[in-house]
Amino acid sequence: MYGALDTSTSALVAQRTRLEISAANIANAQALTNAAGEYEPYRRRFPVFAAGDPATGSPNGVHVASIEIDQGPLVPRLEPGSPYADADGYVKYPNVNSVIENMNSLEASRAYEANIAAIEATKSMMSVALQILA
């Protein structure tokens, strides 16, 4: 049964990571400069899930295999007065869509709760099995 607990926990970790990445995206939705102050619009990050849990070496469970940077097109906005405007007066903004980020957060929450329910079931089964003895 402990294997089942490991599996569910790995899913909780993965989904929470996904939530955090979504939160980071939303927080940086208007960020035009990087940490050094240079003009580098923030690009959306997204996690790539893969089966298996490297922490325990088990083929069950899930983990974040990598966090990729969305190379999709940045969002241009017409701001002729901005120091970052290009020749046509457009400034490129981060490719973060709040609707998509909200949906992702909702899905991550839903999956998180489903795994909590799985953990509760595992705990109950372990108690019941113990009662066979006592």
Binding site: T7, A11, Q15, A51, V62, N115, T122, M125, Q131, I132
Partner: protein, 142 residues
């Protein structure tokens, strides 16, 4: 004589049911964990086939000696060991709803989780009550 205790009444049958439900629980939990994993196909074993295997072994046992050993026959998905079993699960579901290859059906998976848990619990409680009765008889005390 001691063998007869281990194989008495419905104890071997309930034992196999508890083992099956325990193993299947791990399967279902892994499906839930990989709910969002692209390319992951949810897997499961057929509960009906297992119950048929159990039924055949029960009939066979009744024919020989009612408290004899239960000898279930392996199938592709369920392999019986002396003190447990190994499940070989197959991918389920034909519908490809999402283009990343995963077929998500959270509600049905949660229902499977609950049903399987109830089977586990019922079998385990019945197993305990059978053993309690045998213990009562041995101790000559309720």
């Amino acid at each position: 004589m001691i063998d007869d205790i281990a194989n008495a009444d419905t104890i071997p049958v309930l034992e196999r049911l508890v083992q099956f439900a325990g193993q299947r629980h791990r399967l279902i939990v892994n499906n839930i964990a990989n709910f969002d994993t692209p390319g992951y196909r949810p897997v499961d074993v057929s509960v009906e086939s297992f119950r048929n295997q159990l039924g055949e072994a029960i009939d066979d046992r009744r024919g020989r000696r009612p408290d004899g050993k239960l000898n279930p026959i392996d199938s592709e998905q369920v392999e019986f060991l002396d003190d447990g079993m190994v499940l070989h699960a197959d991918p389920i579901g034909e519908n490809i709803l999402f283009h990343d290859g995963n077929d998500r059906d959270l509600e049905r998976t949660m229902q499977d989780l609950v049903e399987n848990f109830m089977t586990f619990r019922t079998a385990a409680e019945l197993l305990r009550s059978r053993m309690d009765i045998i213990n009562s008889a041995i101790a000559e005390r309720i």
